[in-house]
């Protein structure tokens, strides 16, 4: 119990004056993030929202420890991030499943790194495959699955190792509209059962308002936090989408984002 409490407290993220520069193989370095500071609370669902190219994915990768932090500091539960770790699970837009492994083998991958017996590994893998409703597809390869099913498998693989923080990089961006709204429902229902700190990158305003407790709206490149909007609702569910309060919030957020989207558009070459 004490162990569990400690772990929970460790799931807050503190981002302090993070700047980041990309150095493309050719051309000048690109300033992706400029002095970004942000607190993400324990077990909070936070959306990072902004126009494409605003550095929101870069910020997510820095939290994940995938990119080197060259300026500023990121702490998770008081400990500085230096490399990736199983406390931070990630789900990518294009699923990133291991194509040579079946669904079951993909989900087992992280479990095999834990100190579990083979039976425990298999049981947990099956439980999570069941949780994402992929039972019956354990032995399918990713190439045999639809986009939505691939993302479910990726979600099961990430959740199976029980990370305290869930990083999501436009996870439903590659899915068709119907599948996307189904996946949003399922993510919410999973999150309500297994509270984790979620950092959810998206450029979809409605998705951000619908899923997140708070929305950090980022400016066009170089990315800064422009505004943080509270988007907590009493009850989430399909009915919320039609409520006036929801639509008002979407409108408000959209107005903030729009100015940035216009700036970002002007910068895109072609």
């Amino acid at each position: 119990m004490v162990e569990r409490l400690k772990q929970d407290a460790a799931a807050s993220i503190r981002i302090e004056s993070i700047s980041h520069e990309y150095r493309p193989a050719r051309g000048r370095p690109v300033q992706a993030l400029d002095e970004v500071s942000l607190e993400i609370r324990d077990r909070e669902f936070l959306a990072l929202l902004g126009p494409s190219g605003c550095g929101k994915s870069t910020l997510l990768y820095l939290i994940g420890g995938f990119l080197p932090i060259t300026h500023g500091r990121i702490e998770i539960g008081g400990r500085a991030v230096t490399e990736p770790g199983p406390d931070r699970g990630i789900v990518f837009q294009h699923f990133a499943l291991f194509p040579w492994k079946t669904v079951l083998q993909n989900v087992l991958y992280g479990l095999q790194k834990l100190r579990l017996t083979r039976e425990e590994q298999l049981k947990r893998a099956r439980d999570y495959i069941n949780l994402v409703k992929l039972t019956g597809f354990e032995n399918s390869y990713p190439s045999q699955l639809s986009g939505g099913m691939k993302q479910r498998a990726a979600l099961a693989r990430t959740l199976a190792v029980d990370p305290t923080i869930l990083l999501m990089d436009e996870p439903f961006g590659a899915l068709d509209a119907q599948t996307r709204s189904l996946m949003q429902e399922e993510l919410l229902s999973i999150w309500q059962r297994q509270r984790k700190t979620v950092v959810f990158v998206t450029h979809d305003v409605q998705e951000a308002v619908y899923l997140a407790d708070r929305i950090a709206i980022m400016s066009a490149r170089p990315g800064r936090i422009k505004e943080i909007v509270d988007s907590r609702f009493e009850q989430r569910g399909p009915a919320l989408l039609k409520s006036p309060a929801f639509m008002e919030k979407v409108d408000y957020v959209w107005n903030v984002v729009r100015q940035e989207a216009i700036i970002a558009q002007a910068e895109v070459p072609m």
Partner: protein
């Protein structure tokens, strides 16, 4: 059933070519000093088969080919993957690989003879050197091309850097490595036969040269056909193997 039939149809042009060969030589349109009749070549093959000669020399050649190619695959794959992901190894080996890649490997045959003599070692090392480069280059390109999100996923699932190399980068590079090995397989036959032809006392290449010098053309052609059949069979079997290994690609 239909599968077998289609496969059969695919080889109809070969049968026509064989018929043309037999026809041209049988009716004296082409002199049998240039090209002996196919029937004679086949008869010689059976003679060679019965006295055990062809089996013995095939065994000698295959031993060299398999050893050289096996070494090339093991070393080339390891080197290519390590070059892709460990900077000091890349810095040291990249210019060496670039330098040796364009050399026609058959030019090394006399050097190998001087260094290693007439026996198996000179052929095995030649095939090893010649076949290693295409495998190295394909492993390097395959490993470099691995999508970074696969590596990041593995790392966030608790894999160490070493585990990522073995469990993610190597299998992700496999399709490209396997196509490099196919090139190496064809190259190994080329190097094997040409080196045996020039300097050897056994093996299929030696046999071709020996029968040619002695003017026994039906036997010489029989051995040439044996080499072609072995090369063809090796390639087909390899493709079957690849299809099984890469079944996940659909």
């Amino acid at each position: 059933m239909t599968g077998a039939l289609t496969a059969l149809y695919r080889y109809v042009p070969l049968l026509l070519l064989a018929a043309l060969w037999e026809g041209l030589t049988r009716f004296g349109i082409v002199s049998d000093l240039v090209l002996p009749p196919l029937s004679g070549v086949i008869a010689s093959w059976f003679t060679l088969f019965e006295d055990g000669g062809i089996l013995y020399h095939t065994g000698a050649s295959l031993l060299r080919g398999v050893s050289g190619l096996g070494l090339a695959i093991a070393v080339g794959t390891t080197l290519g993957v390590l070059m892709a992901w460990i900077v000091p190894i890349r810095v040291v080996f990249r210019p060496i690989v670039q330098m040796f890649y364009p050399i026609p490997k058959s030019a090394l045959i006399p050097i190998m003879m001087i260094w290693l003599g007439f026996g198996d070692a000179s052929k095995i090392v030649l095939i090893f050197l010649g076949c290693m480069l295409p495998v190295t280059v394909s492993a390097f390109n395959g490993a470099r091309g691995v999508d970074r999100v696969l590596i990041w996923s593995a790392r966030s699932l608790g894999a160490t850097r070493g585990e990522v190399l073995r469990e993610v980068i190597a299998p992700a590079a496999l399709p490209e490595i396997l196509s490099g090995i196919r090139t190496a397989l064809a190259l190994s036959f080329l190097l094997l036969v040409s080196s045996e032809l020039l300097i050897s006392r056994e093996g299929l290449g030696y046999l071709i040269g020996n029968f040619g010098d002695a003017g026994i053309y039906t036997s010489m052609f029989a051995v040439v056909l044996t080499v072609s059949a072995l090369g063809f069979a090796a390639d087909r079997l390899y493709l079957l193997f690849v299809r099984r290994v890469l079944a996940w690609r659909e």
